[in-house]
Symmetry: D2
Subunit: 355 residues, 4 copies
């Protein structure tokens, strides 16, 4: 990390960047009100920081040993950004701002009619953003893989429904991509691109998505520690895309006896990450629980622990859903949940990071 | 399980009990308004249920295969108890009732003066019950083991302080026992006996404590699945002591990279257990987090998810605490937390079991 | 699953296949000596098995509910394949046969000279196959990502070194791919394509690699249960590529206190999987341990538990390795290990699946 | 830790001990050939090491921060003990010596006849020590709890059978205790006292057993990290009982999907612990697997990884065993396993600690 003097000139900054590139690394330039901080992206071990420390305009040059740094609040502060949280703007919605944001919609898009019905329902329930799965990552090759599996034309048609539903009901839309070959197509239609838990570690995919410069909803893998999750998020920020919404959706349960939930929702991760980084964290209670009757309680707990929002699976007729029917709630239940969460958000007085 | 007819006589019930005892098992008799249900305690595999089914007064006789049954709501309902939750009364405090209960106090009792100062502080903050550790279970033989380690006299003296603090500030008191040899002494002085996470599996200790017929605060081990936790709780209910307060205090974190918290608080366990059993569940955010700055957020999440209360470590001067100084909060912080939790409890409208 | 009669004609089989395709599924045809079994790939829930049961030449038609089936020994047996294990032939090497196979080489290819030196060393030590990483998946964007990260030309050059080393020292070669964009390039040069633990869940990548019809070395993710691992392996077999070498390389360690190894090597998984499927399983002690001094012991345990081989990281000068220097052993240590493993393999008398 | 000069007198040593006791700690005196090392047992934080450093005869005085130290090889070496492993002698059997030791017998003692039959069987199979459970720790109060549950007289009778079987077939005997009230009785009859996984954390029990000065077979809890396991073992060594045989019997499996084994056998723990401490480690494949068909493979792996022995459940008629019938093997299978293990032990050439 190179901290420039407050009066460093553009030429001096450019010179430092060129020097960094000589060592096979890239520069991440954060221009603050008072000074500029240049992060090094890549393997810093061979970099002669002593050499950098005496370049013109340089105040301090030192190695940072953590596996992530660009996403930390400390790094942002050094560049003069004192705000606690990055606010990610998508249309009129502000994720990370004063109000919790609710993302809702069906697990899988099944038909245009199904999507429109649910979109209307969640809008009325108070949701801000519409979700819907087209490329479904599934554990078994023998399970329904989403409409996207039928072919590129079918995938594109389903994406136009998403776009139309978002426009009609005035909600930005989010869908998940699963492989590099889908990135261009998906980016054309949606406002937020989701990278699911199973692709969390896929660094080539992360980079390809980040380059689209659209907000990304990025889910933690169920086997990933917080440090690992943040380290992989850093791959996207290193592509100069800071609009990353992190999502906790449950980690591996203890491995003995009956499992009462699909995963263990690690709610403490929310304030922990929000203290460590400037990125907003949301909660996915649906996949964590895997059962409808716990969604209300876990949603309330998510907002109480400080989450910036929720992503919830909603279906007008959960029993008949093609995927994850056991965990989807109705629009009416969604409304009830949003109402309770808003009151809880007031009760905690904005304390989102244990501060 | 033997379900008696609604008009079964006392003689018929006694006859069934004697028959059960012939097979080397014990009987747990639940007398409801409408009928009596007799649970079998012990290994049912050799019991000829056909024989029992035709005894006078018997409506139904069948084997129950789960590792626990006496603590289930289903079992209570069969005996005619339709209440959702058992209310455990300790002095004027009702655990499992309409209001969340707050248990607070120092991790370890260090001196009479320290205890009295903190007791006054938590009372003013709104706490209902006073906690304080005298026999400290510690991972290392080289750590401070609590005043109880100094000898039986020292242990008893510390217990009299607990009693005095409780009486002076009108709060029932709870302390942890660690071994069978401490049961008599501890039961003499405190209102609630705590069995800590590390002793969760110690079935001989569980039985010895349960026989004291005092309320028990029973903590889940960090490696125990919910089924296992409930199975061991059954050992105490099988001694005809149903006043068991269950406590979730964190399970093993994922095993890779830096740990940001000591344990992973499994908040979903609260509604899961409260749906499965009639016992109230409380949350211990202090041991789960192991760091002061997360206590507020985790406490709020605990009440939001449906817990019947919290147990929190409070110290008037956390920096100087002999044990767990990093995780204790001040009385002022305790008050703030209780205020927020009360509002959250209203917001969820009493939904404690995902119902 | 459709089991054909032993005298079913080709026309009858083709008819069944066409019928399956009508329902949007694909057919996996296993032609045995006695009869043909047709597996259905895709979501079977809407398939009218009654209808299939009465088609000409069909003996039995039934739904299989497990998330995997094509890779099971039961499925192979039904088609008349009674062999215990699939033998995967790569050049003169037979993986899954009577002798354990040793794969060795550097963690990362650093230069042509380094690769040639190590290739010669492992060949003399008794290794059968040469490994070397060009695209390195790394937790941190700030770590060395392999020569492949420098650009496509650099990647291809490194691949030619692999090819040359393999040809010169008469060993088939294996390297890891990390993203879909690398599949064509890598398949051009290597004999076995490796899919690493972090990409285990990347189903689009799995399918793309499987279609190259080359043997695949497929590693279990550290958070994946055995059932999940096998379910994802099924994605490749469903592309009609049965040459899958499964590799156990350690699962998440328990999450408390100091970690003495990087992962927990789950050795029981070897006989469990080799009983469940016909695929050979090998062990990677290097990544599991993360420390050189345990490689000998874990390798011996791997062969003792029934593994069909090992993949071990070897460097002529481990201290100076750019990646994972702590876990690489020398060619001399590799030789010692292979000698011990061969004796152990004799001692267990071929018992590889708990049978 | 206080390291005395090589010419320190007994008076000087005694003086140091008295000084240590003044601070409320106890002294662990290790008299080596060359010098004496005095370990401090208890909370060292208040100890003025500067003061101790200048006492007559003292060479060095310093605080040791780890949760365990008395059991480390480093500590033994300082006192002049250069041997790699402590050899624990029980009758003619030497645990930790040149040959692996096999402990075998029924999970639960069911009758005198059953015990005698199995004792004869395992003796002929080559076992050195006889095991048999009388007080069975069980997850469910509704399961068979062992003959010891019937009362003190029944427990004592079963213990006399153990003694008689051991004497008749010339094998030392081991049985498990579960609570403090059983310690005196058990110590009267058996040669080795077992503390099971579920009691691993029960520090009061550990101390009570250690004071009997008999060898202890101490099993790791399935949720305990290695550091924690060793820290609790230290409680026993701190009572001046160094005859502790550590046993790995499986840790929690990954928590998703079907479990193919009951626990995950952590074989790497064997060389790790044997490098860290001078205590011998054995493996219990029976409880780890929970299924008979894996015992051979896991036993071989256990010896291959460097274990000093095995404890295996054997029953002449496994199908009819009252407890754990699925995991017990026959005497014939036991013999086969011992034969293979002996060959494997030769193949590894005594490398038990990754050295």
């Amino acid at each position: 990390m190179i901290i420039m003097k407050s009066d460093a000139t553009k030429e001096q900054i450019d010179h430092v960047i060129r020097e960094i590139e000589k060592y096979g690394l890239r520069a991440d330039v954060s221009q603050g009100d008072y000074r500029t901080v240049i992060g090094l992206i890549g393997d810093e071990r061979g970099v002669p920081f002593d050499h950098f420390a005496v370049l013109p305009g340089v105040k301090e040059a030192r190695m940072v040993e953590t596996p992530y740094k660009l996403i930390t609040r400390e790094y942002a502060r050094m560049a003069g950004d004192q705000s606690e949280r990055r606010i990610i703007k998508v249309g009129d919605v502000r994720i990370g701002g004063d109000e919790p944001v609710f993302i809702a919609g069906p697990c899988a898009v099944e038909s245009k009619a199904q999507l429109m019905t649910i979109a209307e329902g969640v809008k009325k329930a108070g949701a801000h953003i519409l979700r819907g799965g087209i490329f479904k990552p599934r554990t078994s090759v023998h399970s329904f893989q989403g409409l996207g599996a039928a072919g590129e034309d079918e995938a594109e048609e389903a994406l136009t429904w998403m776009r139309e539903a978002g426009d009609r009901y005035e909600m930005p839309v989010v869908t998940e991509i699963r492989g590099e070959s889908q990135v261009d197509l998906v980016a054309k239609y949606v406002d937020i691109i989701q990278i699911g838990a199973r692709n969390m570690y896929d660094q080539d995919l992360l980079i390809a998505v980040a380059r689209k410069k659209k907000p990304i909803l990025y889910k933690r893998h169920f086997g990933a520690g917080i440090e690992e999750f943040l380290s992989f998020a850093e791959y996207m920020v290193a592509e100069d895309n800071k609009d990353i919404i992190l999502c906790e959706r449950g980690i591996l349960p203890l491995g003995k006896g009956k499992s009462y939930t699909r995963y263990t929702l690690d709610l403490a991760a929310v304030p922990v990450i929000q203290k460590e980084t400037y990125l907003p964290v949301i909660i996915d209670p649906s996949h964590a629980a895997g059962r409808r009757d716990l969604i209300f309680n876990l949603s309330c707990a998510g907002i109480a622990v400080g989450a910036c929002g929720l992503i919830v699976e909603v279906h007008h007729n959960p029993e008949e859903a093609l995927v994850d029917s056991a965990q989807q709630i109705t629009p009416a239940e969604c409304k009830e949940l949003i109402t309770a969460c808003r009151q809880i958000h007031k009760a905690i007085g904005g304390r989102k990071n244990g501060g």
